[in-house]
Symmetry: D2
Subunit: 147 residues, 4 copies
């Protein structure tokens, strides 16, 4: 097993989105459930693709399918906390992009959860691997500096 990473600070993330937690995110232990964080990652990354990259999920021929994801959980947070989600590019390929998402409680300097999230782009009709659409590549180039 490789060493577990620690909480991240906000400096490494170039784009942030606020996200309201929901009552149903809390589980029986009174904290936001581990599953909910993946819904946050999905929402933040797709918001970027849609709002900055012009992705139209219902009509585009090429869309991003998730091929892998992961999360490390450092400290519990509970609804009704408003969260801040930071985005970073870990790896940008021709046909896939791996994001890191840092989740921060509203006043926190360090992430309570850090995740990774890889989209492979696919032609929806054929299911075949496809190049990242230009508009998305340009949005990434505009907002993120190469790591």
């Amino acid at each position: 097993m490789s060493a577990r990473p620690g909480p991240a600070d906000r400096d490494g993330y170039a784009v942030f989105y606020n996200l309201e937690s929901r009552w149903a995110d809390n589980d029986i232990y009174g904290h936001i459930n581990n599953v909910a964080y993946y819904a946050y990652f999905d929402s933040a990354v797709n918001r970027f693709l849609i709002e900055e990259g012009g992705l139209a999920p219902t009509t585009d021929a090429v869309v991003g399918y998730v091929v892998s994801s992961s999360a490390n959980y450092f400290s519990p947070v509970s609804y009704p906390e408003t969260l801040s989600l930071g985005l970073k590019i870990l790896r940008l390929g021709d046909r896939s992009v791996t994001w890191e998402v840092g989740v921060f409680a509203s006043q926190a300097a360090h992430s309570c959860v850090t995740g990774t999230f890889t989209h492979a782009f696919v032609d929806r009709l054929t299911g075949r691997s496809a190049a990242i659409p230009c508009s998305i590549r340009e949005a990434i180039a505009k907002h993120f500096t190469p790591g």
Copy 2:
């Protein structure tokens, strides 16, 4: 079957909360799924109970359990819309409160969905019906005028 109500305007609601939709709220038809709206109702009402009424869900002896709920769906809305949730008191009893929740797309004058949501207050240990806690009753009196 009684007549189906129509969309509501914003005037009837006294308290509003913003709520970000999420990628997973959209269903296979490309719209926010009917189920997600109930998660919104739950989140808005409990946010009021916690932030204004002092409810502490993990430790309070008396809490609100949902005994009935309903929704009418008027027009489809899709992620990544940011929604506005309006709260209104439909009925305030000694031991229960029925809320109406209006869900508005960000620029919309009329609700896309209107729901009802009844909390009966219960002693968690015994499961018996209990009076609405004073702090919650005071918060309701402060923010809502009797209908």
Copy 3:
């Protein structure tokens, strides 16, 4: 306010589906959250439409959109209970169908939750009201006796 209905017994339901509860269905109070039951209704009714009525949600021109739903909650149930969902037709029109769904814990004679769920059929491209597809109408006729 009309009188609140009581728990239903199993006799009134003509079709049953089992459904596994999930860890995340439990909320902070340790019971299946009110919202999760609507996901159960949606799953049971659409399973009938797909498996018995031939609905193909990704390709059919006419599909069912939910226009109203409701639930009464009678007794708390918790994950990892396996639930049984009973279906009944409350009202069958030319263009819409209202279902009643009874949710039963595995050994229970009476429903813990009873809900209603109305699908209006719609042409997906135009958004206009449409007749219930023949294959769905036939499946309903085969499995349910007119009430």
Copy 4:
């Protein structure tokens, strides 16, 4: 980046649970959303802890908190598929256990998704790390052979 693993076959898993997919698991692309699989992992692992290991989530002093998780997605599956979830122990420590969960479509020889899921055991009141409870350790010893 390390090499991405491929689909697993059923032989490596010692315990299996069936799980019904739900309508809301499908996302806008018509497949079960990446997030839903983590709800499946959580449900299968906790079902084992509760039913075989005697975990009582509402009352036990020591419970398992998720500290990391991951998934690789190999092939899309859609509601209303009934899934089979296989459990395997990847690493058993004094205070934590890492599970591998293989998700199989009903007739499939190979997993559509494979995930990992690490529970660290914690004293709920103090938040401090705790030994895995004996009843859980015995259930693991009974059902899984050391890897």
